[in-house]
Amino acid sequence: MTTVLPFTDQLDALVRQVPGVDALYPAGSIVATVLTATLDAVAHRAPAAPLVHTPLVHTAQQADGVRVTAKIGIGAAESSAEVSARVHDAIAAHLRQAGNPPVAQIAVIVARIG
């Protein structure tokens, strides 16, 4: 179940601003699934344009609380543990300020280094 939560708009910008974050990638599996399905179909037309309007940081409201997933690329000079911890802490602080909802998980995936 995926719901667009009120604070999600700001999460992309927030994560991008964390020192050491070089790139932000779509974290929702939906994007990948849609893209793959489109391309694998016996297409009668050009593949769909990249889906850019979905927020890249993925958020979902589930029974046990909010789940946030951010997929990032970091600079070669950075430590993945430090940058991912900074991203986590920034998201956690943002959630506390935005009504402090129960948090089930904040996931940070370092998908690319350098």
Binding site: A23, Y25, T36, L39, D40, V42, R45, P47
Partner: protein, 191 residues
């Protein structure tokens, strides 16, 4: 975005063997994959154009082929065979397109990309031999054209062609002989 082109600098990757590039691309190295795209993209497009004619579909087919290749590179056991593997992907996607197009237009076995079949004599003076060859190729029946393209563009062995088009070797040989005879006959006309 992960796909952003990097500045084109003389990288050792550009000189790397197919095997090295395929191994690295299978591990997720986008730069190695980009070198493969540049190395074999033009040949794949020539292939698609031979099968589909020169149009947007040929572009789409090559693009889809590379996206499939990126996703499935891990299944390629022998990286040095990446060229024929890529040609197989573009070959299959081209045929899929051709079939889909035929279902759409609902025409039968006549071949779509062939231009108007002008009398060879009328064109002989204005056409170069290569242009004439391209025109005759486009007019070949689909099965002959497919075997010919696998042989002459993708450089497949007769056995590999038979496996790819799922026909007995003798049939493939017959189709290729027939294609060559047609081309020879037409070439006699151009002289």
């Amino acid at each position: 975005m992960p796909g952003t082109l990097r500045e084109q600098v003389a990288s050792p990757l550009a000189a790397a063997t197919d095997q090295m590039l395929a191994d690295r691309a299978a591990d997720g190295d986008l730069r190695a994959f980009e070198v493969l795209v540049r190395r074999y993209g033009p040949l794949m497009r020539v292939y698609a154009i031979r099968i589909l004619g020169s149009n947007d579909e040929s572009d789409d087919v090559v693009q889809e082929s590379f996206i499939t290749a990126w996703q499935q590179l891990g299944t390629l056991d022998d990286g040095s065979a990446v060229k024929s593997w890529l040609m197989r992907i573009v070959s299959r996607k081209s045929i899929d397109r051709l079939r889909a197009r035929r279902q759409h237009v609902n025409i039968d076995d006549t071949d779509a990309p062939a231009p108007d079949h002008h009398a060879p004599h009328a064109l002989a003076e204005v056409e170069s031999q290569t242009e004439a060859l391209a025109r005759v190729l486009a007019a070949l029946p689909e099965d002959q054209r497919r075997c010919w393209t696998l042989r002459e563009v993708a450089e497949y062995s007769y056995g590999d062609i038979a496996a790819e088009v799922n026909l007995p070797l003798s049939t493939v040989r017959g189709l290729l002989a027939r294609a060559r005879k047609t081309l020879l006959r037409e070439m006699e006309e151009w002289r």
